[in-house]
Protein backbone atom coordinates (compact mmCIF):
# COMPACT_ATOMS: atom_id res chain seq x y z
CA UNK A 1 0.00 0.00 0.00
CA UNK A 2 1.01 3.57 -0.56
CA UNK A 3 -0.48 6.13 1.76
CA UNK A 4 -0.18 9.66 2.96
CA UNK A 5 -0.85 10.55 6.59
CA UNK A 6 -1.45 14.16 7.59
CA UNK A 7 -0.79 15.26 11.16
CA UNK A 8 -1.81 18.75 12.23
CA UNK A 9 -2.34 20.71 15.44
CA UNK A 10 -5.80 20.67 16.96
CA UNK A 11 -7.84 23.80 16.76
CA UNK A 12 -7.05 26.08 19.67
CA UNK A 13 -3.51 24.76 20.18
CA UNK A 14 -1.06 27.61 19.80
CA UNK A 15 1.06 27.31 16.63
CA UNK A 16 3.90 29.84 16.90
CA UNK A 17 5.53 28.48 13.72
CA UNK A 18 2.37 28.93 11.69
CA UNK A 19 2.01 32.45 13.07
CA UNK A 20 5.57 33.32 12.05
CA UNK A 21 4.97 31.93 8.56
CA UNK A 22 1.76 33.96 8.23
CA UNK A 23 3.52 37.15 9.22
CA UNK A 24 6.41 36.40 6.81
CA UNK A 25 3.93 35.96 3.96
CA UNK A 26 2.27 39.25 4.88
CA UNK A 27 5.68 40.94 4.94
CA UNK A 28 6.31 39.62 1.42
CA UNK A 29 3.23 41.52 0.28
CA UNK A 30 0.65 38.73 0.47
CA UNK A 31 -1.61 40.92 2.55
CA UNK A 32 -4.63 38.65 2.02
CA UNK A 33 -3.10 35.99 4.31
CA UNK A 34 -5.17 35.82 7.49
CA UNK A 35 -3.63 32.82 9.21
CA UNK A 36 -1.41 29.79 8.67
CA UNK A 37 -1.45 26.52 10.59
CA UNK A 38 1.60 24.37 10.01
CA UNK A 39 1.38 20.57 9.93
CA UNK A 40 3.27 17.64 8.51
CA UNK A 41 2.65 14.63 6.32
CA UNK A 42 4.18 11.17 6.06
CA UNK A 43 4.38 9.21 2.81
CA UNK A 44 4.25 5.57 3.78
CA UNK A 45 4.80 2.41 1.79
CA UNK A 46 3.91 -0.98 3.25
CA UNK A 47 3.79 -4.57 2.10
CA UNK A 48 0.27 -5.58 1.17
CA UNK A 49 -2.28 -5.92 3.94
CA UNK A 50 -5.50 -7.96 4.08
CA UNK A 51 -8.27 -6.34 2.06
CA UNK A 52 -10.00 -3.51 3.88
CA UNK A 53 -7.36 -3.32 6.63
CA UNK A 54 -5.39 -0.36 5.27
CA UNK A 55 -7.15 2.57 6.90
CA UNK A 56 -7.44 0.96 10.30
CA UNK A 57 -3.77 0.07 10.19
CA UNK A 58 -2.77 3.64 9.31
CA UNK A 59 -4.89 4.99 12.16
CA UNK A 60 -3.04 2.68 14.51
CA UNK A 61 0.29 4.14 13.29
CA UNK A 62 -1.06 7.56 14.18
CA UNK A 63 -2.36 6.63 17.59
CA UNK A 64 0.78 4.74 18.57
CA UNK A 65 3.41 7.11 17.23
CA UNK A 66 2.80 9.59 14.42
CA UNK A 67 0.40 11.90 16.26
CA UNK A 68 0.23 13.09 19.86
CA UNK A 69 -3.48 13.01 20.71
CA UNK A 70 -3.02 15.75 23.33
CA UNK A 71 -2.22 18.35 20.68
CA UNK A 72 -2.68 16.83 17.23
CA UNK A 73 -5.30 15.41 14.90
CA UNK A 74 -4.62 13.23 11.87
CA UNK A 75 -6.10 12.27 8.53
CA UNK A 76 -5.14 9.11 6.63
CA UNK A 77 -5.31 8.77 2.87
CA UNK A 78 -4.72 5.51 0.98
CA UNK A 79 -3.17 6.37 -2.38
CA UNK A 80 -2.62 2.87 -3.77
CA UNK A 81 -4.17 -0.09 -1.94
Amino acid sequence: MKARVHVFLKEGVLDPQGKAVASALQTLGFEEVLSVRQGKFFDIETSSLPKGANEERLKEYCKKLLANPVIENFKVEVIEP
Partner: protein, 238 residues
Protein backbone atom coordinates in the same frame (compact mmCIF):
# COMPACT_ATOMS: atom_id res chain seq x y z
CA UNK B 1 18.24 4.93 48.14
CA UNK B 2 19.20 3.72 44.67
CA UNK B 3 19.20 6.05 41.70
CA UNK B 4 19.43 5.20 38.01
CA UNK B 5 20.02 7.66 35.17
CA UNK B 6 18.57 6.69 31.79
CA UNK B 7 20.69 7.43 28.72
CA UNK B 8 19.14 7.78 25.28
CA UNK B 9 20.98 8.41 22.04
CA UNK B 10 21.05 12.20 22.01
CA UNK B 11 20.80 12.73 25.77
CA UNK B 12 23.28 15.47 26.68
CA UNK B 13 22.56 16.11 30.35
CA UNK B 14 23.11 12.50 31.42
CA UNK B 15 26.52 13.39 32.87
CA UNK B 16 25.06 16.34 34.78
CA UNK B 17 22.35 14.02 36.11
CA UNK B 18 24.97 11.41 37.02
CA UNK B 19 27.11 13.93 38.90
CA UNK B 20 24.10 15.35 40.74
CA UNK B 21 23.65 12.60 43.37
CA UNK B 22 27.35 11.68 43.19
CA UNK B 23 28.46 15.11 44.38
CA UNK B 24 25.61 15.58 46.82
CA UNK B 25 25.67 12.19 48.52
CA UNK B 26 29.04 10.77 47.46
CA UNK B 27 27.35 7.80 45.87
CA UNK B 28 27.33 7.21 42.12
CA UNK B 29 24.00 6.36 40.48
CA UNK B 30 23.64 3.55 37.95
CA UNK B 31 23.57 4.28 34.24
CA UNK B 32 20.87 2.56 32.21
CA UNK B 33 21.06 2.40 28.41
CA UNK B 34 17.77 2.99 26.59
CA UNK B 35 17.81 -0.41 24.89
CA UNK B 36 18.09 -2.24 28.22
CA UNK B 37 15.22 -3.19 30.44
CA UNK B 38 17.03 -3.45 33.75
CA UNK B 39 16.54 -0.37 35.94
CA UNK B 40 19.13 -1.78 38.37
CA UNK B 41 16.81 -1.82 41.37
CA UNK B 42 16.29 1.92 41.30
CA UNK B 43 14.05 3.70 43.78
CA UNK B 44 14.44 6.93 41.82
CA UNK B 45 14.85 7.09 38.05
CA UNK B 46 16.26 10.28 36.52
CA UNK B 47 15.38 10.96 32.89
CA UNK B 48 17.92 13.57 31.83
CA UNK B 49 17.74 16.43 29.38
CA UNK B 50 19.04 16.53 25.85
CA UNK B 51 17.78 15.82 22.37
CA UNK B 52 16.90 12.15 22.40
CA UNK B 53 16.67 10.86 18.83
CA UNK B 54 17.53 14.35 17.62
CA UNK B 55 14.02 15.52 18.55
CA UNK B 56 12.78 13.67 15.45
CA UNK B 57 9.00 13.52 14.98
CA UNK B 58 8.27 15.37 18.26
CA UNK B 59 10.53 16.07 21.25
CA UNK B 60 10.61 12.93 23.36
CA UNK B 61 8.27 10.93 21.10
CA UNK B 62 10.74 8.26 20.03
CA UNK B 63 12.38 7.92 23.44
CA UNK B 64 8.96 7.47 25.07
CA UNK B 65 8.48 4.36 22.93
CA UNK B 66 11.88 2.79 23.60
CA UNK B 67 12.23 -0.46 25.60
CA UNK B 68 13.50 1.15 28.78
CA UNK B 69 10.47 3.41 29.03
CA UNK B 70 8.15 0.41 29.34
CA UNK B 71 10.11 -0.44 32.47
CA UNK B 72 10.01 3.15 33.71
CA UNK B 73 6.22 3.19 33.29
CA UNK B 74 5.97 -0.11 35.20
CA UNK B 75 8.29 1.30 37.89
CA UNK B 76 6.07 4.38 38.25
CA UNK B 77 2.94 2.22 38.45
CA UNK B 78 4.53 0.24 41.30
CA UNK B 79 4.98 3.50 43.19
CA UNK B 80 8.53 4.17 42.02
CA UNK B 81 9.93 7.70 41.93
CA UNK B 82 10.78 9.40 38.64
CA UNK B 83 12.10 12.85 37.81
CA UNK B 84 12.23 13.98 34.18
CA UNK B 85 14.21 17.12 33.48
CA UNK B 86 13.82 19.12 30.25
CA UNK B 87 13.80 16.47 27.50
CA UNK B 88 13.00 14.07 30.35
CA UNK B 89 9.79 16.04 31.02
CA UNK B 90 8.90 15.86 27.32
CA UNK B 91 9.49 12.09 27.39
CA UNK B 92 7.26 11.69 30.48
CA UNK B 93 4.44 13.57 28.73
CA UNK B 94 4.87 11.54 25.53
CA UNK B 95 4.83 8.30 27.53
CA UNK B 96 1.57 9.25 29.24
CA UNK B 97 3.06 9.28 32.75
CA UNK B 98 2.29 12.99 32.92
CA UNK B 99 -0.57 14.83 31.20
CA UNK B 100 -0.16 17.53 28.55
CA UNK B 101 2.56 18.30 26.03
CA UNK B 102 5.46 20.70 25.53
CA UNK B 103 5.04 22.93 22.49
CA UNK B 104 7.57 25.15 20.77
CA UNK B 105 8.51 28.22 22.84
CA UNK B 106 6.31 31.15 21.95
CA UNK B 107 9.49 33.11 21.09
CA UNK B 108 10.30 30.46 18.45
CA UNK B 109 13.85 30.58 19.81
CA UNK B 110 15.92 28.28 21.95
CA UNK B 111 15.90 29.81 25.44
CA UNK B 112 19.05 29.44 27.50
CA UNK B 113 18.87 31.60 30.64
CA UNK B 114 18.37 31.60 34.38
CA UNK B 115 14.78 31.62 35.61
CA UNK B 116 13.11 31.94 38.99
CA UNK B 117 10.71 29.18 40.03
CA UNK B 118 8.15 29.33 42.78
CA UNK B 119 7.42 26.19 44.73
CA UNK B 120 3.64 25.67 44.48
CA UNK B 121 3.15 22.62 46.68
CA UNK B 122 5.10 20.81 49.34
CA UNK B 123 2.86 17.77 49.09
CA UNK B 124 5.33 15.75 47.02
CA UNK B 125 8.53 13.86 47.75
CA UNK B 126 10.51 16.30 45.59
CA UNK B 127 9.31 19.42 47.38
CA UNK B 128 8.52 18.21 50.91
CA UNK B 129 11.63 19.89 52.35
CA UNK B 130 10.78 23.22 50.72
CA UNK B 131 8.22 25.78 51.83
CA UNK B 132 5.32 26.79 49.63
CA UNK B 133 6.31 30.04 47.92
CA UNK B 134 10.05 29.35 48.11
CA UNK B 135 11.90 30.84 45.15
CA UNK B 136 14.51 28.75 43.34
CA UNK B 137 16.97 30.00 40.74
CA UNK B 138 18.08 27.60 38.02
CA UNK B 139 18.69 27.55 34.28
CA UNK B 140 16.43 26.59 31.40
CA UNK B 141 17.83 25.46 28.04
CA UNK B 142 15.13 24.38 25.62
CA UNK B 143 13.34 25.08 22.36
CA UNK B 144 10.11 23.29 23.26
CA UNK B 145 9.14 24.07 26.84
CA UNK B 146 5.79 25.72 26.34
CA UNK B 147 3.52 23.60 28.54
CA UNK B 148 0.08 22.91 27.11
CA UNK B 149 -2.90 20.82 28.18
CA UNK B 150 -6.64 21.08 27.62
CA UNK B 151 -8.81 23.02 30.06
CA UNK B 152 -10.20 19.98 31.80
CA UNK B 153 -6.70 18.63 32.46
CA UNK B 154 -5.56 22.02 33.72
CA UNK B 155 -8.48 22.20 36.11
CA UNK B 156 -7.57 18.73 37.40
CA UNK B 157 -3.93 19.75 37.91
CA UNK B 158 -5.00 22.84 39.85
CA UNK B 159 -7.67 21.07 41.93
CA UNK B 160 -5.25 18.31 42.91
CA UNK B 161 -2.40 20.77 43.54
CA UNK B 162 -0.23 19.01 41.01
CA UNK B 163 1.58 22.08 39.69
CA UNK B 164 4.97 21.78 41.39
CA UNK B 165 6.67 24.93 40.06
CA UNK B 166 5.73 28.11 38.19
CA UNK B 167 7.93 30.63 36.40
CA UNK B 168 7.84 33.89 38.35
CA UNK B 169 9.52 37.29 38.62
CA UNK B 170 12.52 37.67 40.96
CA UNK B 171 10.02 38.88 43.58
CA UNK B 172 7.93 35.74 43.18
CA UNK B 173 5.05 37.13 41.14
CA UNK B 174 3.50 35.30 38.16
CA UNK B 175 3.70 37.71 35.23
CA UNK B 176 3.58 37.25 31.49
CA UNK B 177 7.03 38.76 30.89
CA UNK B 178 8.64 36.21 33.22
CA UNK B 179 6.92 33.28 31.53
CA UNK B 180 9.52 33.20 28.78
CA UNK B 181 8.39 30.14 26.85
CA UNK B 182 4.67 30.96 27.10
CA UNK B 183 3.64 27.97 29.22
CA UNK B 184 0.00 27.70 30.16
CA UNK B 185 -0.54 29.21 33.61
CA UNK B 186 3.28 29.71 33.83
CA UNK B 187 3.69 26.00 34.57
CA UNK B 188 7.33 24.89 34.86
CA UNK B 189 6.80 21.49 36.46
CA UNK B 190 3.98 19.08 37.27
CA UNK B 191 3.37 15.97 39.35
CA UNK B 192 1.69 12.66 38.62
CA UNK B 193 -1.49 11.67 40.42
CA UNK B 194 0.44 9.73 43.07
CA UNK B 195 2.88 12.70 43.27
CA UNK B 196 5.93 10.46 42.80
CA UNK B 197 6.62 11.46 39.19
CA UNK B 198 7.88 15.00 38.61
CA UNK B 199 8.48 16.56 35.20
CA UNK B 200 10.10 19.98 34.92
CA UNK B 201 11.72 22.01 32.15
CA UNK B 202 14.30 23.87 34.30
CA UNK B 203 17.52 22.12 35.30
CA UNK B 204 17.95 21.58 39.08
CA UNK B 205 20.97 19.33 38.41
CA UNK B 206 22.76 22.32 36.88
CA UNK B 207 22.07 24.45 39.94
CA UNK B 208 23.30 22.32 42.81
CA UNK B 209 26.85 23.62 43.30
CA UNK B 210 28.02 27.10 44.24
CA UNK B 211 30.43 27.06 41.31
CA UNK B 212 27.45 26.84 38.93
CA UNK B 213 25.90 30.03 40.30
CA UNK B 214 23.05 28.52 42.30
CA UNK B 215 22.58 25.68 44.74
CA UNK B 216 18.79 25.90 44.79
CA UNK B 217 18.34 22.72 42.72
CA UNK B 218 19.93 20.57 45.40
CA UNK B 219 16.82 20.90 47.57
CA UNK B 220 14.79 18.86 45.08
CA UNK B 221 17.07 15.82 45.17
CA UNK B 222 17.70 16.14 48.90
CA UNK B 223 13.98 16.29 49.48
CA UNK B 224 13.36 13.22 47.32
CA UNK B 225 16.12 11.29 49.10
CA UNK B 226 14.60 12.09 52.48
CA UNK B 227 11.10 11.07 51.39
CA UNK B 228 12.33 7.82 49.86
CA UNK B 229 14.27 6.90 53.00
CA UNK B 230 11.19 7.64 55.08
CA UNK B 231 8.69 5.81 52.85
CA UNK B 232 10.89 2.77 52.35
CA UNK B 233 12.40 1.12 49.30
CA UNK B 234 10.41 0.80 46.12
CA UNK B 235 9.05 -2.63 45.38
CA UNK B 236 11.05 -4.28 42.60
CA UNK B 237 9.89 -6.29 39.67
CA UNK B 238 10.70 -9.99 40.05
Amino acid sequence: MKISVIEFPGSNCDHDAYEWPLRMFGKAPERVWYADRDLKRADLVIIPGGFSYGDYLRCGAMAARSPVMEEVVAHAKRGGYVIGICNGFQILCESGLLPGALLKNRTLTFLCLEVVLRCETTNAPFTASLRKGDLLRMPIAHGDGNYYCDEKTLRGLLDEERVAFRYVSPEGRVADEWNFNGSMDAIAGILSENRRVLGMMPHPERASEALLGSTDGAAILRSAAKAIDKNGKVEQNG
